[in-house]
């Protein structure tokens, strides 16, 4: 009878596959009948896993302050989050990129003909964490980073690295570089930085999938972080918070104006200097990743909340507005750096608040 059992198991695996496939159909939007303006009711949202921990913290705080409200954020990935939103299964999406041109029409249809807007809410820094015995400080520039991650620089004592790190005893060991094996906005933003700063060295395509030859892939930032932690003479790119959780050291990045340490504050400067390329209340950003002022950390990412400017149910709109008003408050943004994220600051934060205020 073992045979039958295993045959059934095979079916079960296949069934799981198909269930995953249609999983997004199950998140029927709840139509809570909360009074407009009140902070009760239920919100559904999904998307970027990069902002998962920030969301968890905010949702927790918001629900404590408003016992009548429940917010369910599923970190199922940016692409899936945008699709869920377009299919009207969620009230807002979290995404590590603004709506793409081909998604705009679908989003407008979901918003009853109105614009869907991108509101930057959670910033992040991508750190280059390394594990080399006896090296406590390491400086890299875009060219050497591209060389390491494309397999052109293979030893730690390569002259190009040594030139940036005078006085540091670099070993003659082979570099083990780790990248993400899953599709990820972290890879997207890391390659965007390489393409912006050193297009001659990094000639490959950007995007969410790692395409450079060589190196080793690991699943998730946690996978990259634990691989770096357990492998000598290794380096990997990951979100800043994972550097702290695994007790790794992050390289300083020199875009040409001096080496900058990977900190939340330094990354916030880069994000605050971003220009808005969206129109009206849409705050899709153009980030200047070539910034070389010696104080801004250039490898950053921004995750957006995407929702309807107008066109949601009145009750849902009020609740979305109330929640996003909280998340753009000084208190909520201030909590970000402690969790390894980067807050939105300065003029950009003012614009974010204006956009949130326009939701109706």
């Amino acid at each position: 009878m073992k045979i039958t059992r295993i045959a059934i198991a095979t079916v079960a695996i296949a069934t799981t596959l198909s269930l995953t496939a249609c999983g997004s159909d199950n998140n029927a939007s709840s139509s809570a009948s909360a009074p407009a303006g009140g902070v009760t009711g239920a919100l559904k949202a999904s998307g970027s896993s990069a902002q998962k921990n920030a969301m968890a913290e905010w949702v927790n705080a918001f629900q404590t302050a408003n016992p009548g409200a429940t917010i369910d954020y599923q970190a199922n990935g940016s692409g899936a989050g945008v699709q869920d939103f377009i299919n009207a299964q969620t009230d807002f999406a979290g995404s590590d990129s603004a709506l793409k041109p081909e998604e705009v029409a679908g989003a407008a249809a979901r918003c009853a003909g109105n614009n869907a807007i991108d509101i930057p809410m959670v910033g992040g820094a991508i750190a280059l964490a390394y594990n080399i015995d006896g090296v406590d400080s390491l400086v890299l520039d875009p060219k050497t980073t591209a060389g390491i991650f494309t397999g052109k620089i293979t030893k730690w004592n390569d002259p190009a690295i040594a030139a940036l790190n005078a006085g540091v005893a670099l070993p003659a060991a082979t570099i083990a570089s780790f990248h993400r094996s899953d599709s990820s906005g972290t890879t997207d933003n890391f390659t965007k930085w390489l393409i912006a700063t050193t297009p001659d060295t990094y000639t490959l395509a950007g995007g969410k999938d790692w395409v450079a030859p060589g190196g080793q892939g690991a699943k998730g930032s946690d996978g990259v972080a634990s691989s770096v932690a357990s492998t000598k003479n290794s380096i990997g790119y990951m979100e800043l918070s994972f550097v702290q959780t695994q007790n790794l050291k992050a390289a300083k990045i020199d875009n040409g104006g001096g080496a900058v340490e990977a900190t939340s504050d330094a990354a916030a400067k880069t994000i605050a200097a971003a220009t808005v390329k969206g129109t009206g209340n849409d705050l899709a950003l153009n980030i200047d990743r070539t910034v070389a002022d010696g104080a801004s950390y250039p490898i950053v990412l921004v995750t957006y909340e995407i929702t309807c400017e107008k066109g949601l149910d009145a009750a849902q709109a009020a609740l979305v507005k109330s929640f996003l008003t909280y998340t753009s408050s000084d208190e909520a943004q201030g909590a970000l750096s402690g969790a390894g994220y980067v807050p939105i600051t300065g003029d950009l934060l003012t614009k974010v608040r204006a956009s949130v205020a326009a939701i109706s």
Partner: protein, 323 residues
């Protein structure tokens, strides 16, 4: 034999002798049987239906292309690297798990003292109950750092054989390690089924062999293995089926590279199931369809493997006990 004894005597009472309980029970069993068929068919239809759009958008050959860029403006994707990695990892797993699994079950059935045999059988069955994510984490965090030496040894002393040659000086996240973890995962499947088959070797055959002066090894070779061969083959095929479809453990371990690289100690490799797990969340519409297309191929492969296994069992069903 005993068949005649439990045959009910022909009823001489006319009229409906069918009881309600019989009808309900029959309905339930027939329904369950049909449900399985229905589920299988609907999975096949679902996969085909969802996979079709990606085929018309592919600007490359789905079966020979090894790159995977289904979401770019001119989509290029194919299963060559996935199929290669899936089979190589499964073959490594089979090469390691088959001798070990068969050896274990021979030990349990013919060599071990009765008490030890019971305990060992229990622990091997327990191995089947360990969730695959645990195998994945264990493989990644424990086995991988500790098996680097094996890969280095293979490279140094057997590196003249291309598959063991390592050109990167990196020995982790390879198909070899994925294969080792898969081997441990399919070991209970192979061992449990071949143990059942060995248990059914007629006592008379065993005793006849021993009475003729055969040593224990000769007895196993003459009486047990010929009798158990179909069982061993089908056990291995079912293990192979699991190895082909294993997802999360492989996704955690492999480096996920889209190239056909026969150097199994180098970082790299990718499989159908791992690729679906890694790409699903961030895939666009065509990407999802392409992933389902690769899933369909895997579905058909595992279906084929299981059918072959069943076929072998059916041919020799008097012996295998899997009736």
């Amino acid at each position: 034999m005993t068949q005649g004894l439990i045959d009910p005597p022909k009823s001489s009472i006319s009229g409906s002798a069918v009881r309600r309980g019989d009808q309900i029970f029959r309905g339930i069993t027939v329904g369950s049987g049909l449900l399985i068929l229905l589920v299988m068919t609907s999975i096949g239809i679902f996969l085909t239906w969802k996979a079709l759009p990606s085929f018309s958008h592919n600007s490359s050959n789905f079966f020979t292309e090894s790159q995977w860029f289904p979401d770019q403006d001119t989509p290029i994707f194919g299963i060559a690297a996935l199929a290669f990695g899936t089979f190589v990892a499964a073959i490594i797993a089979m090469l390691l798990a088959m001798p070990t699994g068969i050896g274990t079950s021979l030990f349990i059935t013919f060599y071990a003292p009765k008490k030890l045999a019971g305990v060992m059988a229990f622990f091997i069955d327990l191995l089947a109950a360990v969730p695959s994510i645990i195998f994945g984490l264990w493989g990644l965090q424990f086995l991988m750092p500790h098996s680097e030496g094996v890969a280095r040894w293979l490279d140094r002393y057997l590196g003249f054989i291309p598959i063991f040659q390592n050109r990167t000086d990196l020995y982790t996240k390879s198909l070899l390690i994925a294969g080792i973890v898969l081997a441990i995962m399919i070991l209970p499947t192979i061992s449990a089924i071949s143990r059942e088959v060995f248990n059914q070797v007629p006592r008379s055959h065993v005793e006849a062999a021993l009475a003729l002066g055969a040593t224990r090894w000769e007895m196993v070779r003459m009486a047990v293995l010929p009798f158990g061969r179909p069982g061993i083959i089908s056990a291995s095929m079912l293990g192979l089926g699991r190895a082909l479809g294993e997802t999360i453990a492989v996704a955690l371990i492999l480096s996920a590279v889209f190239e056909v690289n026969p150097h199994i100690t180098e970082p790299g490799g990718n499989t159908f199931a791992a690729n679906i797990a890694l790409k699903w969340n961030e895939a666009g519409p065509n990407g999802l369809s392409a992933l389902i297309a690769s899933g369909l191929v895997l579905f058909l492969i595992t279906l084929g493997v299981n059918s072959v296994a069943r076929g072998i069992i059916a041919r020799r069903k008097d012996f295998s006990g899997a009736q």
